[in-house]
Amino acid sequence: MLELEKKIEHLRKDLDYITDIKGEIFGERLTEIRNWLSEIAKKIYELPRERAETALNDIEAQIEFFEQEAEKYLEPLDYVRIARHPYRMTLKDILENVYDDYTELGGEEKCNIDPAMVVARATISRRVGSRVYTHQVMVIGHEKGHGEEFRNGGSAKPWGNEKALRFMRVAETEGIPIHTYIFTPGAYPIEDPPGAAQQIARNLYAMARLKVPIIAVISEGGSGGAEAIGLADLRLMFSHGYYSVISPEGAAAIEGKIKEGQDLPPELVKSCAEQLKITASENLKLGTIDRIIQEPPLGAKGDDFEFFNQLKHEMIKATDEVVLKVRGLSVLRGYYVKKKTGEKNNAVYVRWELDEKEISKLLKQRAEKYENMGRGFFADRRSFLKKRVDEVCYGWLKIKSLLYFGIFKRPYRWVKRFVDDLRGEFLIITDRVLRPFTNLKGAIEKKFKRPTVQLAYEVPPKEDTYLGEIYVSPLANEDRTISCPNALRYGCYDIWVPDLYGELNGVCPNCGHHFPLEYQWYMNHLFDKHSIKEFNTEIASINPLGYQGFDEKLKEAVRKTKRHSALITFDARVRGISLVVVMLYSDFRNGTVGAAEGEKFILACKRAKVLRRPLLAYVHGTAGIRIHEGTIGVVQMPKCTVAVREYIEAGGLYIVVYDNNSYAGPVASFLGCAPYQFAIRSSRVGFAGPRVIRETTGEDVPPDYHSAENALKRGHIQGIWDRRDFRKNLYMALITMGGKNLYYR
């Protein structure tokens, strides 16, 4: 009888699940089944066992039929419901059922540095013929915990992501593959150290060159939170999961300009879910994932043991695939793994440990994979001829660079190093030989020579008198006064606008508050005269997902700015030092990053690498990843971070300067990963705005929560610069941080 009671409970749960996911299409039919089940439950001790079993089997068949029916009519928003449902499988279910054995690291359950992030050292085994091979893996992922409140719904806090990174490094030391499982609606958006954005950026930066195979599986992939453990060699996705730049509710609130506290129109949420292209099949088409793991109808639940068996084979196959791609002797196994699926590939055995050569191949392939991700989702406005000419020019630049730095400079550097060492050795010898004579000379001079007054003439340092081109901000054309936001605190007087935006450079003369200035001001005041040479201006943003109404918004942005993307890339000089500059500016769609911006960024990284120049990222303003480009936008985070890592590894100097408002994805990836980050006074840097923090954490944040001063206190940035000293400080930073290595290590 106990078995029957368990079955009733199981069927009841299944019915609840269908009702929650797609109940509306069955109407009364579900209620009838539920009533039927309740009747049997009431009479369970009265009915003959066979009759009860038959009835329950009938109900089970009916429920299966409903599941299959519902599966046919699933809409994007239903996938969101499935991924968030408390009955859906979680990482703990996977650890229990896919892996043979596991030990949780960094705490268990509530007693954990962050219960939303689970790390476990696990073993996974395969049978080849009569032998069983066991592999060691590091499993990292979010745990939603079937509704356990302390798990925060899988929203990892900054220290949770830090834990993930710590154990990724352990896996790297031990040379074992990493399996990551993404079950997160997004990162917990708080700035407490190490800071949400900073930690995600650090994770991405580390994962870009982690020397072990990484396999990521997405169930609920919420933007930056997902990327924190999502930069992998192979990205799989559960067929009933979703992967999105923002939750459909968040997108609806932005699109519909819904005020805080107001109800979201369900139709708008549904429409956003459809337009964001969040399902597995749509993501596969976009190329943001590599493969889909098929789940049972309406998704896998915590007790779908057959599915877990399939998942085990998928994970083994995926790891094999990554390893075989970099292994020398792998032709037959590579073919077999590719062609056969499930238990059929049982005949294959692959050793998962990699040697040095294989590791470098793995890292190269990872970099190439992300470089190519999201290609084709921007427009190249150049003519065919111009493209060919540019290719030739770039090729010539590479040859020149190779000739100069690789062939001419390299032996010169070797000789110079040798001469330096030789001189050092020689100085010791000469010092020992000459010291008695110099001592004697000193003693004589001291005795007989009259002390002379020596006048020291210090050569005054050459002043940088360059004040920029004659450029006056158009903001100065208004004939009125303006109040400083700190007037109540510091008693600042009202400032006359032509003065403020003219000779005061947008700075309050009393408290030093920096009023925002347009990006052209910086282009004119920061760099040497006529030194700016823009490149890749023809790369243009498009509407890759066909998002309703976005074409018009893009056209408006192009009309307003006379540019085609939110990123300007150019060569420039600061007091004679040549550098490559990427400038995110807020006038074009709030400085959001999409495929075009990402492509321009990596091309600038490459150019800086070829030309052996420092790379400056000046962020005039960015609101994050462009939501209208969906996951195409999200993958720009790992894509650009990999490019930055490649540039820095090759010896480049990367400096980031934030201004005005810099938030979300870019800060949590290719900007936040910079070793040297600065901010202009009165700017704000962070992961999520106050409203998102309030809605996620339920707590209000102080008005200065994201201020540059607090970012400095938290260790996010290394200094705050006055706008008027930007040029001087940048020059000093280039000299002190670059030093001898300014033009490459």
């Binding site: 006064t481 009202d494 006359w496 209000d700 008005p703």
Partner: protein, 213 residues
């Protein structure tokens, strides 16, 4: 000795405080509230959002919005100044703020206690001997005498002992917390003669009872 009933009667008769609203500078004023309207001060913990807009003032193209600094009701509003150019410090209206129980107690205590204020912005602690006495006997059982060192003012690792120079009395109220920097001029201690302690305690008790009813 004052009559407790009289004091309570005085506050009961007029449990309000009137805050005059004056213009911060010259400009054209546009009133946004009406006579008798209830206004609210900013509700967020940082006193920045949600306050009722009282009026706007325009000077040299710079429009400023002035919000209610305190909860209350608008009275004596100068409607004739609406849309007019006014000088700085011109009276526009008053906000009649109903005093809460705690505010009344604070006011009464400030009337009846000798307030010892912070001479500098610093952290304050009781001297160890006094702290020990207070711990042993309780706060209102320790009498402090003129010339006695009562507090340590700690600032930038520089500790200065503060000497009490008022009349002998007991410490009725402690306004500071250890390890928290107290701005200059803020009250630190409320001191009263021993014979008045029971009177003040009765008064506070009565206010709490009366205002709850």
């Amino acid at each position: 000795m004052e009559n407790i009933g009289e004091i309570i009667k005085k506050y009961k008769a007029n449990p309000f405080e009137v805050y005059p609203v004056l213009t911060p500078h010259t400009g054209y004023v546009h009133l946004m509230v009406k006579l008798g309207q209830t206004v609210k001060r900013p509700i967020d913990p940082w006193q920045q959002k949600g306050g009722t807009l009282l009026y706007t003032i325009l000077r040299q193209g710079n429009l400023k919005r002035i919000y209610a600094p305190i909860d209350g009701e608008i009275m004596d509003i100068k409607r004739e100044l609406d849309e007019q150019f006014v000088e700085a410090n011109t009276y526009l209206m008053s906000i009649r703020h109903p005093l809460t129980e705690d505010e009344i107690i604070d006011k009464i205590l400030s009337d009846f206690l000798d307030i010892f204020r912070a001479p500098e912005a610093a952290k304050y602690y009781f001297v160890p001997e006094l702290a020990k006495k207070i711990e042993e006997r309780g706060l209102q059982k320790v009498i402090i005498q003129p010339g006695e060192e009562i507090l340590i003012m700690s600032r930038m690792k520089r500790d200065i002992h503060l000497v009490y120079e008022g009349k002998p009395g007991i410490i009725h109220t402690v306004y500071f917390r250890p390890n928290v920097t107290i701005p200059e001029g803020e009250p630190l201690l409320g001191i009263c003669p021993p014979e008045r302690v029971s009177f003040i305690n009765d008064l506070v008790q009565r206010i709490r009872l009366e205002w709850k009813v």
